[in-house]
Subunit: 434 residues, 2 copies
């Protein structure tokens, strides 16, 4: 059989990795796919010095690749929303299959893209868009297809996890570690997407969609970053037997879907709590399988390329098949996506860690307890760190049982109004992840 | 479209779980698969009281299911080698697709079964045969298809892991925990397959085959159980910063494939070292993706059923496709399996933990060091537990660098011949799993 012809758009980190993996493992990959895979054209503004492109056809115009009649599969690795969207839509229009690592594109424009792809009978594969080399999209869409998924929770931003790991292990401050992450190349010059949770929210949006069979709804994701975390709270969490991780959580509840990214206390003995540095991991809980976890490198040249190449092999296998029998883009048949609501954060329920800077008097504790009890918020434990007396104020740390965000907001307003309480109450959500 | 018709052979733990998951999640599964899946017939010696089989056709003859012209997919969940083999071969002969959870059958008769299946153009799916609900076969065959796999290492027997966890956490003796495991239903009345590593070797044989593209070679797997482990060694390993796990390890080396099941010291900080109780986890290291880990319930009624049902959905998706484009049974095209040798254990290389019951005199240490040095075995660390003097003998614990099993056997023979050394030298292999 003729080789399948692939056009790679973008030869940066992931594009370069994809090219190199396809070259180096060509034989191994052909032994699996049953066909050779040939990079027929590359669009790049400049040649990646890590790639030996040899006689491969190179252009600086991505649309040349998309319009090249020889090419079967367009691999979009240029990133961003605008040009990438035009490129992918044009590829679909031209009847080409698409592989992309672009989470922003899928989270924001995925519904439109998949609709067009289904009309044209082509595949848009996007395994590399979430958790780099970990095949978590395949796992949810195919490996757990017998389950009703209850929840998904993951460390899906390596930069954020690197920062939290350093803060905990070395007691360093957020800003200090961020600078190092930028110097190491883990964080961008503008780190907003990573540290404010936007990148994680893109990925969580995709995971929620394939887990629950709902359209992509990035605009409804609640997103809270890690910029306000102090090493103080990281250490208190430790003392309570928890670790703070920046989690994306998507959970099915009788009222609707919770879709939220925020710093989270999780029990220290969970495997997920022990995922450190730039590594990623995703837990998936299904009604039949129970809790499972998938761990690996969430970014990097070849780790992400691993997922891109796996998608190319998948496309090669099914490109000649009847589109009706393919794995649906969002795991569920397009005609049977569910319109179950994504809940606003006010209606989400979690347990909470609260740190209250309070006067060291029994009266304050009684007032705090009263405020919580009036709102039916049960206290699981209280820790007062007498060692750290400052101006007669000590931090009072509480763990609560589960309660709605709305009730907790109301309680915090009341707590902050107490005379014996100074400044803002620190609030971090808690998940048990059983 | 008409529903796909499934016949379930065996309604024990996994069969009952499969029936129940297919019933309970029928709607969710049809939304994913695009077709309804109907259990058209069940073969069972008795009805599982946990299943509401209602009007489903029941027989006590498995061949009735296999010969039923209405049935598209035969689900083999009777276990064992003999009847199961006949059943599966007959199903293939009748042109039916097969889903099985039977690791012994696949590890021992898989080559024959897959050859027949390819001749008839049918699929034999076996995700549930390894690590229960964790979709690790799909992950290696499809999710990591761009990689040259370097090694696979896993905790793939829940009973063994439960026993080791209890020995470590509670300082209990092997025999004592085994009795409890039997009482809890985690271990069979005859626990040989679990505690001697045979079950793990079946699973490892399958993983190695799909990782490296080699035929199934169960008879070449080296298998060592956990029956001789003492809680003493479990505690010493802890003191050295390691945990003892019963691992299946398949590794590509320039000389051939290592295929071995044995107790193994692994660094305590690895996620795999923290997989406890009856849980399973498999690490897979690929040249592009690096190290990844997959964790979940390795057994149990519905966890295993989760994998069986996922296989059924996969078969439904590809049953109408051209057999040439399907994922090959052993991940690589049958015509391009590799004849690379599986190495005998003598030629395998690992680091070692040695416990030598020795006289407490500097002379003995010098003799031990000489014996190792003469065989070019480097010592990484030595620990002598003076606290535990018994009859003037103290345990001397060594960690060595990597060396071939043959050299280590030779060294141990020499060590045991020393006058100052009492009894047998305890030897446990060590893997770093970076």
């Amino acid at each position: 059989m003729n080789p399948v012809k692939v056009g790679i758009c973008g030869l940066g980190t992931v594009g370069g990795g994809t090219f190199n993996v396809l070259q180096r493992n060509a034989q191994e990959i052909a032994r699996r796919a049953g066909r050779e895979i040939e990079v027929a054209q590359i669009a790049a503004r400049s040649i990646n010095p890590l790639c030996q492109t040899g006689s491969t056809l190179i252009t600086d115009d991505v649309f040349e690749v998309v319009n090249n009649p020889d090419i079967d599969i367009v691999v979009e690795l240029i990133g961003g929303y605008t040009l990438a969207r035009d490129l992918v839509l044009k590829a679909i229009e031209n009847g080409k299959h698409v592989v992309t690592a672009n989470k922003a594109l899928i989270a924001v424009h995925g519904n439109e893209i998949f609709t067009k792809a289904e009309e044209k009978g082509v595949i848009v594969a996007f395994e590399a868009s979430v958790a780099g080399g970990i095949p978590v999209i395949k796992t949810i869409r195919e490996g757990l297809s017998g389950n009703r998924i209850n929840w998904v929770a993951g460390i899906i931003n390596g930069t954020g996890n690197f920062i939290l790991t350093e803060m905990r292990e070395k007691g360093r401050a957020f800003a200090d570690v961020l600078k190092e992450a930028q110097a190491l190349g883990y964080a961008e010059a503008d780190p907003t997407f990573d540290i404010e949770g936007i990148d994680a929210a893109h990925k969580l949006t995709i995971l929620a969609s394939i887990a629950f069979g709902i359209p992509l709804q990035f605009e409804k994701a609640y997103t809270e970053g890690i910029t306000k975390l102090t090493s103080e709270d990281v250490l208190y969490a430790d003392a309570l037997g928890y670790r703070i991780k920046h989690l994306g959580v998507a959970k099915r509840t009788p009222q609707g879907i919770e879709l939220r990214v925020h710093p989270t206390l999780i029990p220290a003995e969970r495997l997920l709590a022990n995922v450190n540095g730039v590594m990623n991991a995703v837990m998936v809980n299904g009604d039949a399988v129970g809790s499972t976890l998938y761990y690996g490198a969430g970014a990097g040249m070849e780790a992400t390329a691993s997922a891109v190449v796996a998608d190319i092999v998948d496309v090669v296998r099914v490109m000649t098949s009847d589109p009706e029998n393919r794995v649906p883009h969002l795991a569920f048949q397009p005609s049977s996506l569910s319109d179950v609501a994504v809940l606003p954060i006010d209606q989400c329920e979690t347990a909470y860690y609260l740190r209250i800077q309070a006067e060291d008097s029994p009266g304050v504790l009684a007032q705090v307890a009263t405020i919580l009890s009036e709102r039916e918020i049960n206290i699981e434990s209280i820790m007062q760190k007498e060692l750290e007396h400052m101006d007669g104020k000590i931090p009072m740390i509480l763990l609560t049982h589960k309660v709605s965000e709305a009730k907790m907001n109301d309680a915090i307003t009341a707590l902050e109004a107490l005379e014996g309480v100074e400044g803002k109450v620190v609030r971090i959500r808690v998940e048990q992840l059983n």
